[in-house]
């Protein structure tokens, strides 16, 4: 069998830390080869070795059977290796064509020949089924479209081997479907693909073989058709993983949160939440299902006091908290796991210990008469780090910036849950996390519910909403269009409601 790329026994160290140890990955021509591992397992390190950004301490790389030394990304490019980055490397106010030719511009009499380039790109995009407008500006096109531009960039440079780094992380379900089609098309045109991911269902759907790495060690390679998600998860995490978190039937009690006729404007003054009504009771998890941009962010910000309410009422435990200050709302019993952990959830330049104290630093027992007892912050942080399994380099004195996303999120959840709020708002709590961390977080949410607390979950992932919630409220265009019992609905029904179909139509289609 001919391999287009072989990475044999790769080892990469950073000081005393071994990021990759004895990892072997062999890519056959024309296959989609998944690289699976938890956050921080060493997937990106391995690919950066292949792309020439890091030099390995041991091991060999072969391209088409010949041993090569990839000293920098230009060498990788010449060898036909192209990388589609997770965070796109695009110039926002350039056009699609300008971005693709950047650094490699065709010239005519000393000026860039954009027309010629655009024609080539058009041809290329048609060949591979990558629908883009060569003259559109990056800032005007969707995330899925921007990703196609990234793919075209590699193809334009003659890539034969494409590395996709977590390509579905920021895509909508529809865009994911389209991406999978594109990947299949690329294969049929003779390309080979390495797919970095920790999403098991995508691996099962699209890949031919899977190489698994765990904590930097190469675990092995399996043929996708001969495995199943349970086995893959176990190989990745090193223990059995529950996908569907076990939970008992909810036992809802008094109203915790009540929202009446809520109207909220976004920063441009456009109405994003329109006469919204919602109730969350103690002892239940209400999931808000919806496509990004249907007013979810504005709704949470309005509940938590970060955004002004234009009209309507928010009551918490029967107490009116409409347009109260964030601290007053927090103190009346809300815990909030924010949507964007870097923007709102953490002060990245503070230590993780100080971040854990972010909501309690001003109160006894941590401080008295305005003077903080940092020893108490330390102790509290140690307790939460232990209890929530936050993995840090130097304990509570580690800078928040230095933690992986999953561990940052665990610290935030620890901080919020530890205050024992009557209502816990969890906005996209598992975004970008691996199955182990997701399982942990879901269990914590259900635990809160079982303790008789109310939980409001906002997520763009249908699986998550359906698994964790007791009731599901579907948000569309700033309104809750329907509220369903989680065990009485289907993905199809939710999907249609999320797309703005009315209930009767959704029910009819759901029956088909």
């Amino acid at each position: 069998m001919e391999y287009v790329i072989e990475m044999l026994g790769i080892r990469k160290e950073f000081g005393s830390f071994v990021a990759n140890n004895n990892i072997t990955l062999q890519l056959k021509k024309g296959e989609i080869h998944a690289l699976l591992g938890e956050n921080g397992a060493g997937k990106s390190t391995l690919m950066n070795v292949l792309f020439g950004l890091y030099q390995p301490e041991a091991g060999e790389i072969k391209v088409h059977g010949k041993s090569v030394k990839i000293t920098d990304p230009n060498v990788a490019n010449e060898l036909g290796i192209g990388m589609v980055h997770q965070h796109f490397m695009l110039v926002e106010n350039f056009t699609v064509t300008e971005n693709i030719v950047l650094g490699n511009e065709p010239t005519k009499g000393g000026t860039v020949n954009i027309k010629e380039a655009a024609k080539n790109i058009k041809a290329l995009s048609e060949k591979y089924g990558l629908d883009v407008d060569p003259y559109a500006k990056i800032e005007d096109i969707s995330v899925g479209m921007q990703q196609r531009v990234e793919i075209l960039k590699t193809l334009y440079r003659g890539a034969e081997i494409l590395i996709f780094d977590e390509p579905t992380a920021s895509l909508t379900p529809q865009e994911i479907k389209e991406l999978i089609e594109i990947m299949k098309r690329l294969i049929s045109e003779g390309k080979s693909i390495i797919l970095i991911t920790h999403k098991l269902n995508e691996i099962m759907e699209v890949s031919d073989r899977v190489t698994i790495i765990r904590k930097g060690e190469g675990i092995g390679t399996v043929v996708t058709a001969e495995t199943n998600p349970d086995q893959l998860a176990e190989l990745m995490v090193g223990r059995q993983v529950e996908f569907k978190t076990e939970k008992t039937v909810a036992n809802p009690k008094d109203e915790a949160l009540n929202i009446e006729n809520l109207v909220v404007l976004d920063y441009r003054g456009i109405e994003k939440v329109k006469n919204l009504n919602l109730t969350v009771r103690k002892g239940e998890i209400v999931g808000i299902a919806g496509i990004d941009g249907n007013g979810q962010s504005e709704l949470i910000e309005a509940i938590t006091g970060l955004r002004k309410v234009k009209s309507g009422r928010v009551t918490l435990n029967g107490q009116d908290v409409t347009n109260k200050k964030p601290r007053q709302i927090t103190e009346s019993g809300i815990g909030h796991i924010p949507q964007d952990r870097h923007k709102h959830g953490l002060v990245l330049d503070f230590t993780i210990g100080h971040n854990i104290a972010l909501q309690t630093y001003y109160k006894e027992p941590i401080s008295k008469f305005g003077i903080i007892d940092y020893k108490k912050i330390s102790n509290k942080a140690k307790q939460i780090i232990e209890e929530f399994d936050v993995r840090t380099g130097h304990g509570e004195t580690t800078l928040a910036r230095a933690l992986s996303g999953g561990n940052q999120q665990k610290a935030i959840i620890g901080r919020e849950v530890d205050r024992d709020p009557d209502l816990l708002i969890a906005a996209l709590p598992t975004r970008g996390l691996d199955v182990g961390a997701i399982e942990f977080i879901h269990r914590r949410l259900i635990e809160q519910r079982d303790k008789g607390k109310a939980v409001l979950l906002i997520s763009f992932e249908l699986d998550e909403v359906m698994n964790v919630s007791d009731r599901i409220a579907v948000i569309y265009d700033g309104q809750i269009v329907d509220t369903l019992n989680a065990n009485e609905t289907t993905e199809q029904e939710l999907g249609l409601l999320m797309a703005g179909q009315s209930k009767s139509k959704a029910a009819m289609k759901g029956d088909e």
Binding site: R327, H336, K343, H344, V347, D349, S367, I372
Partner: protein
């Protein structure tokens, strides 16, 4: 090369490089670098008198450096320390000569308080405008520097009708016959004690109080601070105002310590602007500011001996001092060079 070795080597190499380039400048312009540097050394440490004078010079630099560093640590750039210092100077002098009949125990603290309040108010204006209308503090503080300069000049004129105010009353003076005597009658005054106390106060606010916790959080990430229930606006105003207290006290050092009066100025004192460099040299930490201010103050004062003792014109002296500070400030580049050098050696 270990990290510790690099940490020690960087400042040493920086100073040596600065001295070498300074020497080259002297040679090229036809002066004797050995004579020049001997004069500089003697100007700083030559005898007990110059040491006293050096410490006196360092004092306002410490306070100006603290003012800039405090603002930096809370996410603000207070370029208006100069103006706040001038206002503090004017306020201290006024209380110093105009309020009569008080015992020293009340008069001196009152004069210091007046300086702190004047500096705080001048900085508050910039903080309020930033919090309320999002006007950038750099623009406002630069303009307030000019405003302060000319207001102070006008005040001096109206108080005295002359080019300078009366001298402050002895009850408001930081001067100390004891300090003067042990330093062979330098102008060393109690201000250095106040500066050191303020170093401690800055450390205490930032590292021990809820106020400091909030100020730093707002400085690093406004969104997270707001999420955690802190008032971003209140904290911006407070940060600027506290920064102004330090600056105002720097003015009090000149008013109640070194000079004892205020004269009409055609331009800025420069201490406020040098405070920016002092803060950066000290990496914006309270203790670092003391070292930064010591370097600045010592070089500035010691250099005044170079024209007398080595016949080097003041202009060349300024260039040499600037070069030394430049190399210390570019310690980062030296650090990278050292690390690269260390790596290459390991590689071989």
């Amino acid at each position: 090369m270990s990290n510790r070795a690099i940490n020690i080597l960087v400042p040493i190499i920086s100073v040596i490089l600065g001295l070498i380039v300074g020497a080259i400048v002297m040679v090229v312009t036809g002066y004797d670098p050995i004579k020049g540097y001997t004069a500089l050394w003697n100007g700083i440490f030559g005898d007990i008198y110059t040491i006293g004078e050096t410490i006196r010079q360092i004092t306002p630099y410490i306070l100006a450096g603290l003012a800039v560093a405090f603002a930096f640590r809370t996410g603000l750039f207070n370029i208006g320390v100069e103006g706040q210092l001038i206002m503090g100077w004017a306020a201290a002098v006024y209380v110093g000569f105009a309020v009569e009949g008080l015992p020293k125990l009340i008069h001196l603290p009152l004069a210091l308080l007046a300086a702190a309040a004047a500096g705080a108010f001048w900085a508050f204006i910039a903080g309020y405008l930033k919090a309320r209308f999002s006007i950038h503090e750099v623009i406002v503080t630069i303009m307030l520097n000019y405003t302060a300069l000319h207001i102070a000049n006008a005040l001096i004129k109206s108080w005295s009708g002359k080019e300078r105010t009366e001298n402050i009353l002895p009850t408001a003076s930081l001067g100390s016959t004891w300090l003067e005597e042990i330093t062979e009658y330098s102008r060393l005054h109690w201000g250095i004690v106040i500066a050191i106390i303020m170093v401690f106060i800055m450390w205490f606010i930032l590292e021990r109080t809820t106020l400091g916790f909030e100020l730093k959080a707002v400085g690093f990430n406004k969104n997270a601070a707001e999420y955690a229930g802190m008032s971003v606006k209140k904290n911006i105003i407070l940060a600027m105002t506290i920064s102004g207290v330090f600056a105002g006290l720097a003015g009090a050092m000149e008013a109640l310590g070194t000079f004892g009066y205020m004269a009409i100025r055609s331009g800025f004192t420069g201490i406020g602007f040098d405070g920016i460099a002092v803060a950066l040299l000290g990496a914006n930490t309270p203790l670092g500011v003391v070292f930064g201010a010591s370097l600045f103050g010592a070089l500035k004062f010691g250099a005044t001996n170079m024209p007398n003792a080595a016949n080097i014109p003041l202009e060349i002296v300024s260039i040499i001092i600037a070069l030394i500070i430049f190399f210390v400030a570019s310690g980062y580049v030296i650090r990278i060079a050292l690390e690269k050098f260390g790596k290459k050696k390991e590689g071989n």
